[in-house]
Symmetry: C2
Subunit: 319 residues, 2 copies
């Protein structure tokens, strides 16, 4: 069983490659819920949705979010009626939000609702929200504290950020199955998602971070940074704002207490060598995912690191 | 001020004619809510929606319900995910349901929510639900008791009906403004809606029926029956099932305790003469509304009856 910790955008791309190589039944995806929001009275989980869509083959590859070929007629009507419309919900996309909202209104947890929706979409992988408790990513900017989607979508991450906090994290329990999945996994992969606001909220749930330290599974992270630049989105600014170097060193630092392998771009080969030590191996490859082939290649490279380690370990046991 | 009591289909057509002749600010529309339902977790008021759409010019004239040129992509996705899909919600239509559901979840009454939605749609007329209390039209058939939309839409009114009841009517209060509007109106018009399941639920709220008996305004009904046939829908079957003759006589009987003028089709001229008595005048004209011109003509005919009566009354006062 492979466990993937992920956010929405880069993580979903990575999962798109992975699902071509690993039967869905062998995948458990632990998803960030720090971006979750109430919108038009509905319960929206943007990162869970991206994972649902990528695993069911519905994700828009052009946009990187929402459903392919979706239309926005409901959104246009809402805007005409004076409702906020900066968070772009497509007509086909709405179905998942309606379904989740109804399941939650009927008393189901986010875990159970996610499970039910995944089943109805014909998804074989297990998708687990990081927590059923509300953990809210709050971006502290010069214009005040913003919810993540407000910072990211509405204000297009133009605000200067000085801090990030995860409201509710201290009290949050991991969702059922998350800790068990990490402890019993063959490998745990941290997708090339933003370490601050995509993986960060997951790690802010103390028992999840603890499980990553304790698991005997190899923990492999794919860097979302190449050189000093984020592959996409506001990762660089957010890393800088939270005191992390904007480089693969910053990624290694964010995960230092549990990371076994860091997969970085070939560009970072030299810097990778400097980072290696007795408990951290660095693997260099092409980590850009511009095409289906590149996604597949990256997934294969990451899986090969898992195989290496398993071989190395079994070798160690024999010797 | 003109008060119109109405359901969705025939009533909406009639209102479409009326709004061409009367400034919206002089219209108060009291709408049936017996068909209201929870659907996909949303608060749906089908007849209020038809009136919102006709008054804002959005009603689909082809279908007679929902928004013109609407698409059904969310509905198709819901069906794919195993949700019931017989109640046809369009993508643009969804906006009104989302808005209403949110307003009601925020603690607003159906009256206040309707008012707010109408304002946002730029509607000048006053739209009042008959009641903010739940009154549910229940159709008793050989296959068991059905909600109205289930009987009407899902099962296409094919079941044999033996009775109709309005669950909750005894305890229901009229929505704020309904009784006052009827008592202070210049005329009250009962639209050519089904007397059993469109106007019937409104009349089942005792204080509304009482206000119709007490008002000094002329009460004018437009027959939804021509000869022995309903202009559309299941009115004939439902009238028969509830013991009303399927004819203009049945319509007169349904409203006998408060009706002043019954507007019927020219086809029914002879029968109309038989129905007239000291407290009931029958006016014959073309009541079919196949074209915009026919809608306009019918509205004009109905308004002329109001004018006649006002003249007659003022004449009486002078003499």
């Amino acid at each position: 069983m492979i466990v993937v910790l992920t956010g929405g955008t880069g993580g979903a791309k990575f999962v798109d490659g992975l699902r071509q190589l690993v039967p869905q039944e062998q995948l458990t995806i632990v998803v960030n819920t720090g971006d979750d929001l109430r919108w038009w009275g509905l319960s929206i989980s943007p990162d869970i949705d991206s994972i649902l869509y990528v695993l069911s083959g519905l994700l828009s590859k052009e946009r990187g979010w929402g459903v392919q070929t979706d239309t926005f007629f409901c959104l246009q009507a809402m805007a005409r009626y004076g409702e906020p419309s900066w968070f772009k919900i497509g007509d086909r996309d709405l179905a998942v939000h309606l379904l989740r909202s109804q399941l939650i209104a009927d008393g189901k947890t986010l875990s159970d609702a996610t499970d039910e929706i995944a089943r109805r979409m014909g998804i074989g992988a297990r998708i687990l929200p990081m927590s059923n408790d509300r953990v809210e990513t709050r971006i502290q900017t010069l214009s005040g504290e913003l919810g993540f989607e407000e910072y990211f979508v509405k204000r297009r991450y133009q605000d200067e950020v000085f801090s990030v906090r995860f409201a509710g994290a201290e009290q949050a329990e991991p969702a059922p199955g998350v800790v068990e999945a990490i402890l019993s996994a063959d490998a745990v992969i941290l997708a090339p998602s933003n370490p601050v606001t995509s993986i960060g909220p997951i790690l802010s749930v103390l028992k999840i971070r603890q499980a990553l330290r304790e698991t005997s599974a190899e923990v492999i992270a794919v860097s979302p940074i190449i050189g000093a630049v984020a592959v996409s989105g506001p990762a660089a600014n957010l890393m800088a704002a939270t005191g992390l170097p904007v480089s693969i060193a910053g990624v290694a630092q964010a995960y230092q207490d549990f990371l076994d392998v860091l997969v970085v771009d070939a560009v970072d080969t030299e810097k990778g060598k400097e980072l290696e030590h007795s408990r951290l191996r660095v693997h260099c490859t092409n980590i850009m995912m511009r095409t289906a082939q590149e996604k597949l290649n990256l997934a294969r490279e990451v899986l090969s690191q898992m195989a290496c380690e398993a071989t190395a370990q079994s070798g160690a046991q024999v010797s």
